[in-house]
Amino acid sequence: MKKAMTLALGILTAVGGFFDIGNIATCVQAGARFRYQLIWSMVLATIVVILLIEMSGRFACATKKALPDAIREHFGFGFWLVPFLILTVIHILVLGAEIGGICFALHLLTGYPLQVFALPVAVLLWVFLWRATFSAIENSTSVLGLITLCFVVAAIWLHPPTHEVLQGALPSMPATNPENYWFIAVSIIGAVIAPFLFYFYSSGAVEDNWDRSYIPVNRAVAVIGMGFGSVISIAAIIVAAVVLAPRGIRVDDYHQAALMLIQVFPYWGYELFAVSMAIACVGAAIEVALSMAYTFAQTFGWNWGEDLDPAEDARFSLVYTLALLGASLFMLVGVDPLKLTLLTMAISAAVLPFVAIPMLLLMNDRKLLRDAANGVFSNVATAAIVVLTIVLAVVSIPLMVVGGS
């Protein structure tokens, strides 16, 4: 029975972490500007994230070590320091974007300006992390995350032309402004394959004491959880394509996105969008803040774990505290949340090799993993992922400059 519970929670966590501000921003823009044509980049990103999540979970089950812990031990401090510093900057940016999403949702619900909510949101998230245990966090954010199903209901209700949707699942060249098309394609991939997902997921597996017997559960969680999150994201693309694209609304600002559910839910559509956005971002913000604390604690060998009291792991707790305060500054100084999100997703896509390459090497440590190591199929797939991440790394920044309107 415990495994079934774990499976359910694992799936919900995967959904909580998957569908966040990055997905909302990139999917709604993709739908509004290119209708169904960019669904393929979500499909590709989902396949890659399923493989990488499955591997990071399998590694944690087999060795009781999360990724940051393993990478430092395997490749040494010198190699790990550079990715560690870069990923810390990325995590602060992503946390800032998530907090921006929550603030914007509260702005929609109350009408008060964004800046007003920056610090209260950071404090609210901090109280949650300071007092709650890991399982309490995992359960609550995940159950609340179910509200994002409203995008799926809306997409089904609007019954889009299935022929065009399926066609969108295959890569195709855009008719107009290709730079923006490829920029959004890269941002979608950057939003889905977020580094914090793997650090949080593998640390969570260690927190939940998963062992080798959990490897099948891990595989199911990876496939169903990530797949489920992807369905919600594709639904968001479809709703934007049906509601916003025909009206010529391009979504340069979240206010434009807030209108997308009203056609399907005339009375509740506006509030539903705001609440879904808030909850998706709360779930993701908590996972990013925790992922940073895990990464710091495991890098320097501190005591760590959400089930410990802050007094028992002072340094772990202070990392997420400082991260939350630092990340809330973006909204405080009035940075535009949508632009911050898109910038972050593009940069996030640029650092993926730092996640994929260590993963390929770690999963081939036969002495440590023995039968849990990568087989030929996962090695070929991972090698292909490494190549993809290098290509993404090379094109993402130039594309942001040229196509990032």
């Binding site: 395997h74 490749f75 040494g76 090497l361 081939n364 440590d365 036969r366 002495k367 440590l368 090695n379």
Partner: protein
């Protein structure tokens, strides 16, 4: 005379043999436990040694084979200057 050296600072250092030819970079140091002490047995050099540290059997990963790591028994490595480790014999005598 007694000398303390930092093992982690040896890693990556290039080893030259008596004829100043490059043997390879130090990638790992193997030790054996006797009582409470750990005595250095051999120094492992070269790319194959690097993969050995990562637990990756060379053939499997990419199909290339880096061969066996170069093993230097502790007596054969002169560490009087840790910045420039030197082999006390010619490269060929190692195999």
């Amino acid at each position: 005379m007694m000398q303390n050296i930092h093992a982690e600072l040896l890693l990556g250092r290039r080893v030259l043999d008596v004829n100043n030819r490059v043997v390879g970079r130090i990638r790992s140091i193997h030790a054996r436990r006797r009582g409470h002490d750990f005595f250095v047995e051999e120094y492992h050099i070269g790319p194959a040694a690097f993969l050995e540290v990562l637990g990756i059997s060379t053939g499997r990963l990419v199909g290339l084979s880096f061969g066996e790591p170069i093993r230097i028994p502790w007596q054969k490595l002169d560490l009087s200057d840790p910045q420039r480790p030197r082999l006390r014999c010619a490269k060929e005598e190692l195999q």
